[in-house]
Amino acid sequence: MNMPPPSPPEALFEHGYRLRFILRLCLAFAAGAAALYGIFYLVLSRPLTGDYAGVFHALRNLSVFLRPVIAVSVLVYVLLVCGAIAALCVYGLHKVAGPLYRMERVMEEIREGAPTRTVSFREGDQIEPLARAFNRWIGKLRRDRQRWIAAMEDAERLCLQDDATCRARMERALREIGADMSRYR
């Protein structure tokens, strides 16, 4: 049997979630660039004073010390921005990783034979349609189970009549339930 089309009609991400993440990323880069600029400005904004020789030596020395200055400022930039990115990825992506982890736990419970229960995500969590699709499946299973039990209980009611009718009705109910179950494959 073919799977239904993989593209879900419902939006997986809350409106604005991606934009907020991208904006925060850009804010981190802007802060990093501002820090980088600040360091360069501090180092390079010392006034050039003195005569020709003094200024010449100041510029020559600056060009010599430029390498460690650049190395340190780039290191500061990288540490600052990478720290912000790590925090952003942990905080921002836990709204996807959290629901996924929750669903994994539920899948493991089903596999281990624990009673099946529906899933609900926390407020602000993304990929909500996954929980909805899962809950619809569980809801369908529950409705089927109720129908099978109802068929058996209907048959039991006829046991107030004679034994043969009761038995025939029970066997019919079992065949109906078996046929109904056979749609699962």
């Binding site: 430029l66 990288v78 921005v81 942990v90 996924l100």
Partner: protein, 187 residues
């Protein structure tokens, strides 16, 4: 007046944010790699251009500038703008690729649940993309297979009970047992 909490132990519960190192940490590592490469490239370009500008200014002896910053300002600002634009652009692309991978992986799992609703518990999810979603797809398949095996066992039991022709004394307990097992399906 504040209402006292019925479950004070919840106050001390820490919210765990770092749930999936491979997913969250992996994304942070990829974006950080972009930043590090951008930073190194920026450093090299600034060293080349700003260093050249300072040496050139020293050799020419044009000291109308009051600070070295005025000599290198344009080059520095251009490189900073280039760094920010490049890193932001590449990072946004990485993030959008990540979103696409999530969409593909979760979309396959949703399709599998929809198929399960229709009774198809055996067609594999075949979630593609990130390892996390492939693993999740496998878990979904295992859960569906487990549900299928339960239903198949119940179907066999129902069929055998319908056809066995057992006496009423033996039939009754098996009927009750089957009913109990059916009740355990998605209780």
């Amino acid at each position: 007046m504040k209402t006292p909490s019925a479950r004070p132990e919840q106050k001390s519960r820490r919210k765990i944010l770092y749930i999936n190192p491979r997913f969250q940490g992996g994304a942070a590592l990829v974006i950080s790699a972009v930043v590090i490469v951008g930073g190194v490239l920026f450093g090299w370009l600034v060293y080349r251009d700003v260093g050249d500008a300072l040496r050139e200014a020293a050799m020419r002896g044009h000291f109308v500038m009051e600070t070295p910053y005025e000599i290198v300002r344009d080059a520095l600002l251009w490189h900073l703008a280039g760094l920010s634009a490049t890193v932001s652009f590449l990072t946004v692309i990485v993030f959008l690729l990540l979103v696409k991978a999530v969409r593909i992986g979760v979309g396959r799992a949703i399709a599998a649940f929809r198929a399960s609703e229709e009774g198809d518990l055996s067609t594999p999810t075949e979630a593609r993309g990130l390892t996390e979603f492939r693993r999740f797809g496998e878990l979904v398949d295992l859960a569906r297979a487990s549900a299928l095996s339960r239903v198949a066992a119940l179907r066999e039991e129902a069929a055998s009970l319908a056809a066995c022709g057992l006496p009423a004394e033996a039939f009754g307990p098996r009927w009750e047992e089957l009913k109990r097992k059916i009740r355990e399906v998605a209780p």
